[in-house]
Symmetry: D2
């Protein structure tokens, strides 16, 4: 057995998503026979102490309080950005300029025009990119996509997508960066996942009509005062797909009681699919050609039949967790870097999502259908 | 015990809904202590044979092939119309003119302007009216309405409603009266139920933005040819309620696999409700003030706590059926006729639904929000 | 059309089950084309006032405080017994002696030996009998039975049955007749339904091993004191069926939170079924020969495909209620009286259940398998 | 920050469970702040080629075809046994004799007497042991245990446990080591998990009554002939717990359609819990003191409130996977080795499960309750 080439990672940020990325790297390497060996090289955080602690906790060999030092280090192959959204553009552009591959958490950038610059720069530089839309890495979504593409549902007619949570439901919780008019709001934060899933399953959306609503009109500003909220708490859209189907999505971060309602239903002429991220190891399938009196939605449980589930568990019913989805995302990206496949969700695709989000926002203001 | 006054029914039509009405009358009388005694007097159908057979099967004392004879009969108190939609207006107006109370299946009339004429005539005549929006007669919906009105959910913020079935999913099924551009389409047929439920729960809708889509563009005309379809197979709307909440509904008759997806979710500042007609003896309730680590949607099962369930079953968990909902509708109407309560769903309310449907249809054409 | 012969009912008792029977009669007549016309002739209750009120409420033509007068009345064809269990035997034997058909709520009698006397007497007299095991009247159970009998599950191997509720869960609720050592207990009251369903689906049980447990060892006696409880709060059994399958059942009346957990799962060599009375308009079916990667339990919703659902609703998904099950029971019994079919659940079958219950109770005491 | 002491692992076996252990080690180290640094030192397999491949795939530094060489290596601290069950005893005893800590997949040994030898030897040697009963490492089971122990359900009265799968449902699948009369059968293989969960939640079982059934009486022997099967396909037991509750469990490997039905229901005087491994990030909780008309089973979703979920995901609703449960198991064991807590599931506990299994098997033969 020959030694695999090393792929050295420079991670920026060590919060929620930084941690999830590290789990993803660790698991991906164990679970998949990757073409490259992942090396957790350096982690950057806001100061030396935080960076050193993160390096220790996550298993990086080096720590730095200046992410730019990583760009200058020829040992590092990939810059992995899990810093605040507002910094994504600057970091990515510099990393691209330094010839690094760039892995960036969603959203690619708060604004589509910035995301476009990033995608253009990445393609011009010929480096490999990845944006973290992890829910589509679920084997049950891959199954759904294959069933749709393979004609098992017949002609696709109707779609309903949804991503609802409740982390902004408390009106007494203060203003955060997620409320920044530049890139903030439930549609951008959660609806973006719904849009990614919709296009993953059905292909391109052609037109959108938006309805973005600010429900909690002001919040504590964290300094004893109040601050007006401009971004949407609920963002809805009607959709037309290029394949002729129509549909709708909703992003909602004030859905009291919902923690992960990333759901969809797809209706075709021959069958239907129904899915909820709340039970994401299941896909419900209705086949219109089942025998009379025996028809019904089947609860398909994730199993080795549904790649790459079998890499994680050799028996059915054992279930993947959220971090496993991240490992699947990582694996796809590493293969792309090794030239063994397409980028699973490139900056170009991340830009597409930003474009859809902004189109829906503009449509909501203008009350008009917008071609996308 | 004094004898109850008799309430004599003249039924027009003996199909699906005619039958459901008869079951409703029979059950209502056994289950409730109604202020009047229901008398199945006469049934009218298209010819003598059909009428006689219906009378025999349903237990009416008389049969007629001419519904107008019932109007002239002073013994008959209520004209119950389950004839095709296109005839509702003519029948109802004549019945009102004859001084009869009128019970009419939904839709009140294919067009709102006709429904308005009917509502005006009924009110001018002082007779009692009822339109058959039976799903709102469910004790679990009454519970939901009470919980919302009583503040258990806090401020209401978001709503999602839905009524999807699949009886038009087969593109080879022929054109029917339900495809008639005057009053036809999924929004009118099914979305109307969603609208009725939405206003039943949250109060008046203030504005709508519609999206009505014809997916199956032509169908067999039943004579060997093809006929273009103009009405919507899927009708969606964004909603604004007068209470400040926003929401959406969808009516869909090509949702392969769905038989009765009359569902809703309501999100408030303090809690949420989730319901599906597919399991209509349950209401799912999330209380944000449950203890940390113990929160979750509660599956409340229908029980004597939830009036009028207890009239049907003295123990919890036994469940009501669809025909029981019809009996609850009948009971409310009989009480209204006896002066013991408001009309549960009067012609005025039936008109309201038609108005909402048409507003959504117009909004879909004009791509503009319409005040309703 | 010829006039149908009349079938006159004399009902004893007007409580929970008396009411359910009346609803059953009323609905059965509307819903089914019965061979006889049901006539609610006389209701008997403990005194004139109660009887008269019941007659008025339920629509009987006559009332009596002496049930024996009904036996002497040649107009009455059927004696319907919903009086306390302890009276079933005396009433039934006298009714049989008077040549009446007898419809008796479950249990047929507290003790099997009494039930045997009743079954023998009924058969000797040639009258038609019915015991009220209503849960098996569900079209979804009929479907399950047909699927099993038709080989859709292959060889039947394993069975789990259950009937759990919580109406005895409160230890402060007083001693009632249901705690009477003669015929009382959760196994007799609820487990009996599980046994009826088990044999309805799989055919005869051959052997049982019991485990009957008294959990709440004493209760208020209603007079300020305490009374020891001897009957089981939970009654379990291992089962062997004549078809070679093994299984288990449980009856439990202290299952806090459960209102109607009458559930079963059947596993065969080619498929499986899963059912809960909590959602009794559904049957879940797994077909082992579905395509790889597409297998899963299908949620079959009750529909006109599943007779006699179509008598109640002509469209799928509308759902039956508990009282509808009672109507199906009534219809089967009326047809049997008219000579148009077998008795759905005769006294002989009611005796069988009592025999099973007592065998399990004895087995629990002796810790030995008992052939049944 | 001081360097953590190293904990070097010597793994025997690289199949299904070997892989799961490696995933567990990798994830545990990333997710938890363990007191020791895990070092994947050597993997042993049946020949050099297999061992080398496993080392490469799993990230071990060394490989060997002779597991005994690992015992002699002073660098190795823990021997992790995922070899066939029949070898567990020999390997464990030698490892213990060599002073190693021993981590052994379940079952500890096919026979309780062998397991007892192993537990005795481990305790005498003072080394730390762990048996892989991973399902109890679920935060939702920890929550259930805490709720029960904390009195949230009141007095515990009834229990139903279950572990059903279908990997032996095909009668044409050949005889395997799992059919070996010494230690084989569904009760030992799957029912053992039910027993572990039962005691984890409710404390010690006091008495058992068994029912072990061989349903598929012979299988292909893999050499063209047939071989009789002696072990159970379904193993059931009635249970008495020391806390006074009664219950039942079932292990079943021919439950067509079931992939991971590791379920339980617990009923107490004040509440109830309901769980299914099919949706193992949920726990359903009924609180009898919820308000009238608002009671129902709550679907509690796994969240940071439920330690150690928060180590994996900082937001609720994201869900753990099967391999995460293994990581929790590993973490507990590493802490025990570091002297920071008790052994989560020691050989003594593993012996306990074997003892329960054999007691149920003997009880099934003798048809008598056995004290355990």
């Amino acid at each position: 057995m020959t030694e695999k080439p090393k792929l050295s990672i420079g991670l920026i940020g060590s919060g929620f998503m930084g941690k999830a990325h590290v789990f993803g790297f660790a698991t991906a390497e164990k679970v998949f026979d990757l073409p490259m060996q992942i090396d957790l090289h350096t982690v950057a955080d806001i100061n030396d102490e935080a960076a050193t602690r993160a390096a220790h906790e996550f298993g990086f060999r080096h720590a730095t309080s200046d992410w730019r030092t990583m760009l200058a280090n020829p040992e590092i192959d990939v810059i992995d950005i899990t810093a605040p959204n507002a910094l994504h553009k600057e970091m990515a552009l510099e990393a691209i300029a330094a010839g690094k591959h760039v892995y960036c958490e969603k959203p690619l950038a708060p604004l589509a025009k910035d995301a476009a610059e990033m995608a253009d720069a990445a393609e011009a530089a010929g480096i490999k990119t990845q944006v973290g839309f992890n829910y589509i890495c679920n084997p049950m979504l891959t199954l759904a996509r294959e069933m749709i593409a393979g004609g098992e549902l017949g002609d696709i007619r109707g779609y309903r997508g949804l991503h609802a949570e409740d982390y902004m439901a408390n009106a007494d919780d203060p203003y955060t960066f997620r409320h920044d008019p530049a890139g903030g709001g439930a549609l951008a934060d959660l609806g973006s996942h719904s849009l990614a899933t919709a296009e993953y399953l059905l292909g391109p959306i052609a037109r959108v009509m938006g309805d973005c609503v600010t429900t909690i009109s002001e919040r504590p500003d964290g300094k004893g005062g109040r601050r007006a909220i401009e971004v949407d708490d609920i963002g809805r859209a009607f959709l037309r797909f290029e394949n002729g189907a129509s549909g709708s999505i909703e992003g909602n971060w004030i859905a009291t009681g919902r923690k992960m309602q990333h759901d969809f239903e797809v209706y075709g002429s021959k069958g239907a699919l129904c899915f909820s991220q709340e039970r994401f190891n299941e896909l419900h399938f209705y086949a219109a050609d089942d025998a009379h009196g025996r028809r019904g939605f089947r609860r398909i449980e994730a199993a080795p039949d549904h790649a790459p589930y079998g890499n994680f568990c050799v028996a059915p019913g054992h279930q993947l967790g959220f971090n496993d989805l991240k490992a699947i995302e990582v694996a796809g990206y590493v293969r792309a870097i090794a030239g063994q496949g397409p980028e699973p969700f490139s900056f170009r695709k991340g830009l597409r999502i930003q474009h859809l989000v902004e189109s829906i926002q503009r449509s909501s203001v203008s009350s008009s259908w917008i071609n996308v």
